[in-house]
Symmetry: C2
């Protein structure tokens, strides 16, 4: 029962990034998404993946490999949007 | 060393939701945020918290209690924004 709850939680937190990735890919809108969040989160998930490899835990490796692919996609699109956004223009003098 | 990587990963993935929560609280903008993501993610984190309590693992409990508070805040603001958004008006006939 406890293992089932853990498995259920792992599946939900892993697949949850799929709708966010699809939303960003479809709309191209990343305004409401925090660059700082995805920079920290993607680094953290890469850390979890390394941890999973080091302790040889396949569930940790699988879940974090999927999440890393999705989070990296979101982070890449956000970084691209930030780089493409021109600086705010100075107000017109008249 | 392996434990340090796991701890580093846990801290990063936990605190990563803080800048997203602050961004949503400050701007009130939730357009680019996926309701589906936060519904699945918040449920999953609640599952992880239940798992942590059942196996008596304090690090799992602490990390997921913090993440749950942050994710619930984002989810609540997103749900409120969705409920407050009027349906798209019909195009004017002229």
């Amino acid at each position: 029962m406890t293992d089932m709850i853990g498995l259920f939680a792992a599946v939900l937190t892993t697949i949850s990034f799929l709708p966010q990735t699809l939303l960003v890919l479809r709309t191209g809108k990343t305004d409401g998404i925090s660059l700082c969040m995805y920079a920290l989160f993607t680094t953290g998930v890469a850390g979890w993946l390394a941890y999973g490899v080091l302790v040889g835990a396949l569930p940790i490796i699988l879940a974090n490999a999927i999440t890393l692919a999705l989070a990296t996609t979101i982070l890449t699109l956000k970084v691209r949007a930030v780089l493409e956004t021109p600086s705010a223009p100075l107000p017109a003098s008249t």
